[in-house]
Subunit: 330 residues, 4 copies
């Protein structure tokens, strides 16, 4: 039984708390949030009590922390938790600043505690099957990866302003998936982007539509496209092409119902957003984390995976600014 | 909080016990099974203790029973539970003999306890969406229903022998779905069938492949086909055709992954069997039962739904014996 | 080069004349129709001249006749053409009366001329691939065939009145397909039907919605369903299920375009009707007929195929009248 | 009736000659090819006689030329045909050198003869429907276009060497489609590419795998990916995403047959290559050309479309060499 202290009681925190409560190998001991009321609601529903950071980390019964608070708190909480000897599950990103990420990872490393980064998509059953197919050689040698990733609608402008921008906040998931599927580090990044969805996003200095190309040392290519708004819902497609064929993970939809009428053939749109699209992935990544703690093996994705995805985002930011392909700085 | 006593600790009992345990509004108090060890395993995992029927039903804390034991015990357990004032959730069928079903339902009726029949498919999200579409008029007036229902492989011959035969054991689900979607009682049944899958099934006096036609008073038609063996897995498709179009519920598969190779385009087979195909349905029917108990409304499907589906099965048996369409005897 | 005399300048005649004209191995010499103007239009467009039956058949340059006139003229034209020594391609059916079919086939047989029946669906590329897959053992031993066949809308009542009824006029195509795919003669037929689309069809003594079950001697089953009206277009689906799997031929649509919008995923309806759905089949059956004439091999489907499909239709009519399964009378 | 002189009797010439012969409004007068035997074969099959360029262009009966000879002859033949007053249909590209293209177009322009460029994909029924949907506003404002274009296998190295390279030879089709669907000129191009399929292609100074990003002045983005080898056949997919949704044109396959077996669900691969995939497009573009000649309207795609697509290819070549986004030089 792994006892958890969870930091953060917002939307994603809700998911994690419910998964901890439903997991027969886990127990929720503390919920910590600056919004005390939110923390209390979560604790009342899923177990445990509220506490402040210090008290929670001081409790020797706590085995692990799950960091689902706002991005700017991640690195500090990771360091404090590491020093307290707790295993760490942290939502992406570690931090928006690469230097801060590095110092944080050094602290965690020095403490020798397990760390897992919450790149949930790696645990989606379809993407897992895609990866297994690639590993089994069903596409032969990977040559080209295509990732389409579109949200149903943009987040509030207030969030955009502190998000670190589309490349660090949204495309970082795709950078992680690209690294995972290419199975070779991208060394060159080209990014183009614009603001087509909402001019307020542009006013805030961000983009909402982006197209990125990655290239590995051996010449494998990857194209990623993002939009902050797809009227038909959450668009999450991956395609891996290689010397022996292609594997595609298509969108999923809530039912298999198809209607045929005078206007044509019609089916439901895909799942609306990540809460509906990735519930199994959130459960599976928690299971993996617990597995690793129980068997004392290293969880994955690692802190370095978090840093590497951020490095690609940083490169994309530079590339877009300089209108040229840039090398990834590790 | 509804306290359950569950009868039966077999395969389907396992599902129900897990769902009771995971349901925040339910609690498992007793697991009763002639196989004491199986009952104990379930109780240990999902809560409660083992008991004999009398002791469990005598406990005033028990609000409801969930009957998932072997078919020949259903009617007796329903009657005893009804007399003990417990709400009843019973797996299909009530009994293989219509007369026994009727006397049992009279007893339950006299006791005035809620009764719900476990026709799980009515709670599958895709079939629910299909039904909602029909109700919303998306196919206009229903004219023809097509149901294809095939198991991945036949059950053991020992089970076949006590099953009541394909029409009562397997197609009864499709009879229920047909009644539900036609929204008008079938009055005429024609059945043809044969033994093509395994001659041992024929030796046991049963069939393994069947084609049935239903007709309602107003002339709506329904075609059902069953096979005890589909090498590609659990085949569960429904199509409702009417004056304004068609709604189809297609098979579901575990992932959305598609492979394109030199031999063509390939995707996973459908879910293998009911445990994988209908987990959401089992959860949803338990939720519905609890909703009804909490709000003191009548659950559905009812005991009469169980009797009506059995009446169609009986008619199919007669039709097949007599090589003619027969009227349904209510 | 095969010189054709075509009887009939209506809708289906238009297709055949165009295909003869476009076929490099065929030439259209005569178009014969009681509507002289229609015959002239066709001849002007696709070659040849108009003539009466006697003159056309007397021309020794004519190698073959293509009979696409109204059903009641088929048998007479076949007999006259046979006696004139012409190879015969005849649209289905030979006649609506089985006795007349038999005497006609005897005449043709006695004359020793090649005869091909126009069951065009056998030449559709998808159905050909389905058949090839069955033959190659991809479904193992065939156990169950499902055929759904729906027209976009009913023909004029005047046509209905002389059509011979749904079973002889419309379902005859499905009977032929069933025989072709079962690869064993159905020996038992059960038909249920009703009038749900247009009460005028019922007033004319016909049905517009039908469900039929066929059974072969070895116990293979086939379910056919027909409707005279599907608002989404021409619905032509076939499914062959067997011990080693299933082959399905789905509907085809004009383009591969898919739209994703706020209301869901949308694609074009299937082709509207047979002219759009089966152009390749009409071309391919003409090619097959010419191949057979050139190589002096027997074309298929044969006259006996026409008689056998009609026998199934006759059995369906009797079954529906008597509410029981009937044996096919050969 | 438009009388054609066709230059080129190779693979693509074969298609055009057959289409001219089958077109009721066209007639093939001359086939001109340096391979006299090939020209004769085509003329024997589809009409007309062989001739040399001068004689054919001198014939006042010739209304139009169809240029399907090798790329290096296109510009000269266009100029000579223009000076002879013939309407010109020319296979892409006009020339591999932009300066030569410009002088050629000036000559044609001065002669005032109609000119149509053979970007056949614009006439594919699915792509036409996609374009019509975009024009009808079904995706709202276009924001992102994705084009995947892969050949089944690379051409001979000898062809590669004179092809002008992947960007000018293969991706030029995608550049044209991108311009057509974006409905706004791309102003910025980024190209990355490599040689992964066959090292001989790299030895010849070319690439076989490429990823390109286009950007228009208003910020619309387009991602194109090419490979010279897809083991599953000809991969031709287009996706247009915008403010109100998405339109996709998927691959087409020869039949609608689907097999379900123990290993999963299987369907045919897409059409193997352009001859099988685009027969309707080749017919339709010839029809459009003839329509324009008959109605004296300007055909499209124009010579400028040819030049603009080449300009994108040139920009891609420069971008790839310079590892940066470059502006398109018009």
């Amino acid at each position: 039984m792994i006892n958890f202290c969870q930091f953060g009681a917002g939307r994603i925190g809700q998911i994690h708390a419910a998964n901890i409560a439903a997991n027969r190998r886990a127990s929720l001991r503390y919920v910590v949030d600056v919004h005390e009321a939110a923390a209390k609601r979560l604790a009342d529903e899923y177990g445990g009590t509220t506490a402040d950071v210090g008290a929670a980390l001081a409790d020797p019964e706590v085995d692990a922390v799950l960091i689902a608070s706002s991005t700017d708190t991640h690195a500090d909480l990771m360091e404090r938790s590491a020093k307290a000897g707790k295993a760490i599950y942290c939502e992406k990103p570690i931090d928006l600043d690469m230097q801060r990420v590095k110092t944080c990872l050094e602290v965690v490393d020095a403490a020798g505690v397990p760390l897992m980064l919450g790149f949930n998509r790696r645990f989606d059953p379809s993407f897992l099957a895609l990866k297994a197919g690639v590993r089994a050689g069903r596409v032969g040698s990977v040559e080209m990866v295509q990732i389409v990733s579109r949200d149903p609608g943009p987040p509030p402008i207030e969030y955009i302003k502190v998000s670190g921008g589309l490349f660090r906040d949204m495309m970082i998931h795709d950078f992680d998936i690209a690294r995972w599927l290419l199975d070779e580090e991208p060394v060159e990044v080209y990014a183009n982007a614009c603001c087509l969805v909402d001019s307020k996003i542009g006013d805030a200095g961000d983009v909402d539509t982006a197209a990125v190309t990655l290239r590995t040392a051996s010449g494998k290519l990857c194209q990623i496209s993002n939009s902050r708004r797809a009227v038909y819902g959450y668009d999450q497609r991956i395609e891996v092409f290689g010397s022996a064929g292609m594997l595609q993970a298509e969108n999923l939809r809530p039912t298999s119902v198809v209607h045929s009428g005078a206007e044509g053939i019609h089916s439901d749109p895909p799942y609306n957003f990540f809460l509906e699209r990735y519930p199994q992935a959130y459960k599976a990544e928690l299971d993996h984390f617990i597995d690793c703690l129980e068997t004392k093996t290293a969880p994955s994705p690692t802190g370095n995976d978090g840093a590497a995805a951020l490095a690609l985002a940083e490169a994309a930011v530079r590339s877009y600014a300089e209108r040229r392909a840039v090398e990834v700085e590790v």
